[in-house]
C-alpha cells in the first residue's frame, strides 16, 4: 500500500486515482460543520491551512492516559454547502471524510483537492493511528472544535483524485 507523509504538494497527489488505498502520516486538521460555518464568517482565518488536509471528524474525549478518543469520519455531504468556499478561502489540498459529494463540490475539488474516505464507524481502530491530538481553534465548540492531529499510517481510500474522477455510493 502506498505511504504518504505530510507535508505534501499537489504534485505529490497528482498520481492518486479513485480506488487507490494509501496510508497517511503527519499533520492533519479535524473540523466539521460548526467550525466550517465559523471559519467562513471570519475576516481573517484563525489558522493557516494552505497546503493542509482537513478531516471531517469530531472525536469522543480521550480517556486519561490515552492520546485520542474514538475518531472516525463524519458524513461529508453535510459540508457540501461550505466546501467550495472553504477550498478557496483556505487553500487546502485534500479532504478526508465519509460518503458521496454533490456535483458542485466534485467540480470545485477537481484540480485542487483530493477527496479521501476513511473507514466509517471504525473510530476505535482509527484512534490507534493518532499519535498526538491538540485542540487548536474554537474550543467552545467542544467536539466540533478544530483539532490538530499527528497521524501515523491512517488508512484511506481515494474517492476522487485531482483529475476529478471517481464516484462513490
Amino acid at each position: 500500500m502506498l505511504k504518504l507523509k505530510m507535508p505534501l504538494t499537489l504534485k505529490d497527489l497528482r498520481p492518486l486515482k479513485h480506488g487507490a488505498e494509501v496510508l497517511l502520516s503527519g499533520t492533519i486538521y479535524a473540523m466539521r460543520d460548526a467550525a466550517h460555518k465559523r471559519m467562513l464568517a471570519e475576516k481573517k482565518l484563525p489558522l493557516d491551512l494552505r497546503g493542509q488536509i482537513i478531516y471531517y471528524m469530531g472525536p469522543t474525549p480521550a480517556r486519561p492516559g490515552k492520546v485520542s478518543g474514538s475518531c472516525g469520519p463524519t458524513t461529508s455531504a453535510r459540508m457540501d454547502k461550505y466546501t467550495p468556499q472553504i477550498i478557496e478561502k483556505t487553500g487546502i489540498i485534500s479532504i478526508i471524510g465519509k460518503g458521496a459529494r454533490g456535483a458542485e463540490v466534485k467540480a470545485a475539488m477537481k484540480g485542487k483537492v483530493v477527496y479521501f474516505i476513511a473507514y466509517s464507524g471504525l473510530g476505535a481502530l482509527i484512534a490507534k493511528c493518532i499519535r498526538k491530538s491538540e485542540m487548536v481553534c474554537y474550543p467552545y465548540l467542544g467536539a466540533e472544535a478544530v483539532y490538530k492531529l499527528e497521524v501515523e499510517n491512517l488508512p484511506l481510500i481515494v474517492a476522487q483524485g485531482l483529475d476529478g474522477k471517481g464516484e462513490i455510493k
Binding site: 480517556r63 478518543g69 464507524g121 476505535a124 467542544g142 467536539a143
Partner: protein
C-alpha cells in the same frame, strides 16, 4: 406493590450508556462474522476491520464510533411497580453521568434552529414510556448516531399503495443513504399507526435481535424479501460494493386510520448499539 428507588434507575442507565458505546451486541458481532465469511476482497477485509474495531473498543475502552449518539431510552413500567422519585429526572441523570464518566461524545445542542449550543452533557435524552403487566421496569437504551438517523424517512402512503410501492420506498431510502449511514445496516421499518407512531415503530424495530423472526408470517416473508432486495443494491460495507448492504430488515406494524398507510424507515449503522436491562 413493589418499590424501586430512582437512584437505581440512574445507576443502570449510566452503566448501559457506557457499555453500549464500547461493546457491540452479540447478535451484531455474529451477523458481521457471518457476513465476512460470505464476502471476498475489499468488502471481506472491511467487515473483518469492523470485528477488529469492536475488539479494540471493548478491550481499550475506546468507543466503537466517535458518534456516541443521542441516548434513546425505552422505559416499560410494570403496573404493580411504584417508582420512588422522578423517573424522567433519574433517566436524564443516568445519561449525564454515563456520557461524562464514560468519556462519550456530547453531541446534543440546545436549540435546533438558532444558537445550537452544546448542552455539554448529552442531555436531554429521548425517552419513550409504556406500561406493561408485572412489577418490573424494563429499560432499553439505544445510542443513535446522526449519520444513520439523518437518512431515515417517513412517507404517508394512501391505502391504495401496493406492497411493491412500499418496498420501493424502503429500497430508495437505503440507496440514497449509500455509504453515509455506515453500512452494513439494520433497516427498521414501521408500518401503520400514524405520523409519529410509524417512526416510533421503526425505531423499536432497530432494537430487535438479529435472527429473530416476525410473529406474523406475512411480515416475516416481507422482511426476508426486502433483505434480499436491499443486498441486491450492492452498496456493500463502506459503500465499496459487496453482498452485504444490510444485516437485517425488521418490520413493526400497528393498526392505522382507514385513510392512511404511514411508513417510516429508520436506518441503523453497523454499530447498532442497544442494550436492555430489567430492574
Amino acid at each position: 406493590m413493589r418499590k424501586l428507588k430512582s437512584v437505581l434507575i440512574t445507576k443502570a442507565v449510566r452503566e448501559m450508556c457506557i457499555t453500549a458505546a464500547h461493546k457491540l451486541p452479540c447478535d451484531m458481532l455474529c451477523a458481521v462474522k457471518k457476513a465476512a465469511a460470505k464476502e471476498s476482497g475489499v468488502s471481506a477485509r472491511i467487515l473483518k476491520l469492523c470485528l477488529e474495531n469492536a475488539a479494540i473498543a471493548e478491550k481499550e475502552m475506546i468507543p466503537l464510533c466517535q458518534d456516541t449518539g443521542v441516548a434513546v431510552v425505552f422505559a416499560e413500567i410494570g403496573h404493580d411497580l411504584f417508582i420512588e422519585g422522578d423517573i424522567a429526572a433519574a433517566i436524564e441523570e443516568g445519561v449525564r453521568r454515563g456520557y461524562q464518566d464514560g468519556y462519550l461524545r456530547k453531541s446534543i445542542v440546545s436549540d435546533p434552529l438558532f444558537e445550537r449550543k452544546n448542552t455539554k452533557d448529552n442531555t436531554p435524552p429521548v425517552i419513550h414510556y409504556s406500561f406493561a403487566k408485572g412489577d418490573k421496569l424494563k429499560l432499553t437504551v439505544m445510542l443513535k448516531g446522526g449519520g444513520s438517523e439523518n437518512n431515515s424517512k417517513i412517507n404517508m402512503f394512501a391505502p391504495s399503495a401496493t406492497i411493491e410501492e412500499i418496498e420501493d420506498f424502503a429500497l430508495k431510502t437505503v440507496a440514497a443513504a449509500g455509504s453515509k449511514s455506515c453500512p452494513p445496516l439494520i433497516v427498521g421499518i414501521g408500518v401503520g399507526g400514524n405520523f409519529e407512531g410509524c417512526a416510533l415503530l421503526a425505531k423499536k424495530a432497530l432494537g430487535r435481535e438479529i435472527g429473530s423472526v416476525n410473529k406474523d408470517k406475512r411480515y416475516a416473508a416481507l422482511e426476508k424479501r426486502l433483505l434480499q432486495k436491499v443486498n441486491a443494491l450492492k452498496i456493500g460495507p463502506q459503500g465499496l460494493g459487496g453482498k452485504t448492504t444490510a444485516l437485517a430488515v425488521f418490520i413493526e406494524f400497528a393498526p392505522c386510520h382507514m385513510a392512511s398507510l404511514p411508513v417510516a424507515v429508520n436506518l441503523g449503522c453497523h454499530s447498532n448499539r442497544h442494550i436492555g436491562r430489567i430492574l
